[in-house]
């Protein structure tokens, strides 16, 4: 069972490598991979597809900056944040806004596994932790 999972992981990694072009996930390539899997039905297809989806999701998340905000935010801010993240990570990062009233005020930006906190709720939580 463990060996099947390893083989499936390895195959999914190979499919993922084929789906990334210039450091970014290509929708065409992803579509082609899915067609290939559907056509050739490799061993343990469900395991392969689950692993592939996890890799693609993580890679896509690296290219998207989720901007949580409480209060109004305009496109200029989003663009500035996207440009800043693109500069920082060396790849194209797009920003999407998500309202989150729990922040009280300010922003929280998440790019992949990285989180940049600049909100009132975050500062209050840091204050509580420091006490």
């Amino acid at each position: 069972m463990a060996s099947h999972a390893k083989i499936a992981q390895k195959f999914a990694r190979q499919l993922f490598n084929m789906s990334v072009v210039d450091g970014a996930v290509s929708a065409d390539r992803v579509s082609g991979v899915l067609q290939y899997v559907e056509k050739h039905n490799p061993p343990n297809p469900v395991m392969v597809l689950k692993a592939y989806r996890r890799l693609i999701t993580a890679e896509v998340a690296k290219s998207v900056a989720v901007v949580e905000h409480a209060g109004a935010i305009n496109d200029a801010m989003l663009a500035a944040i996207a440009a800043s993240m693109t500069r920082k990570y060396g790849r194209v990062v797009t920003a999407t806004a998500t309202p989150n009233a729990a922040l009280l005020a300010g922003l929280r930006v998440q790019v992949g596994d990285d989180i940049y906190e600049s909100s009132v709720a975050g500062q209050l939580a840091a204050l509580a932790a420091s006490v």
Binding site: I81, G106, V120
Partner: protein, 194 residues
């Protein structure tokens, strides 16, 4: 033998008388004649006496003396044995008295040592008990101090949580949209400089 001697003496007596009378009476013989001492009879008496004396010595005096000596010896032995027993008894009594004295001295010494050991043990136990009580008190004080610090930390945490929660509630109600917007702009500027 005795009868023969008497017969000889009787036969010799007239001859002696005649000789005395003939000698004309010398002093000693005159005395002997006046006192009626006759030499044959005297010699015979002396001989008889000697024989009797020898016989008595051999068959009477000697055994009696031997018996007396034996008895004397036994009495002496008995007296000597008695003396020895007395001396032994005295020695045993002295030894017994000395042993009793030594035993009493040993008993006194043992009692004294036991008393001393009991006293030392009591002192040691008292010291150990005092030390243990001190340790228990110190540990109790440490526990109380730890509990106090723990309670202070918990109180501090709880107070901080309440302050944060209150601040959140107040800010969520009191912050206006304009203030939020200004804060967001400030946060965006901060994030673009990351």
């Amino acid at each position: 033998m005795l009868s023969h001697l008497i017969i000889l003496a009787q036969a010799a007596t007239p001859a002696v008388d005649a000789a005395a009378q003939n000698a004309g009476g010398s002093g000693i013989t005159k005395i002997f004649h006046d006192f009626g001492i006759s030499w044959p009879f005297l010699l015979a008496q002396i001989a008889n006496f000697c024989v009797v004396a020898v016989i008595l010595w051999k068959f009477a005096f000697k055994p009696v003396l031997a018996t007396l000596d034996e008895r004397q010896r036994k009495i002496a032995d008995g007296l000597r044995y008695t003396d020895e027993m007395k001396a032994k008894l005295e020695a045993v009594q002295q030894e017994s008295a000395a042993s009793a004295k030594r035993a009493q001295a040993d008993a006194t010494r043992i009692i004294e040592e036991a008393r001393k050991a009991a006293k030392e043990f009591l002192e040691k136990q008292s010291q150990e008990t005092t030390a243990k009580a001190g340790d228990i008190l110190a540990k109790a004080e440490q526990l109380i101090e730890l509990e106090k610090k723990k309670m202070l930390a918990e109180a501090r945490t709880e107070i901080a949580r309440l302050v944060v929660e209150t601040t959140q509630r107040v800010l969520s109600k009191e912050l206006s949209d304009a203030e939020r917007s200004r804060y967001n702009e400030s946060a965006a500027r901060e994030l673009t400089n990351v």
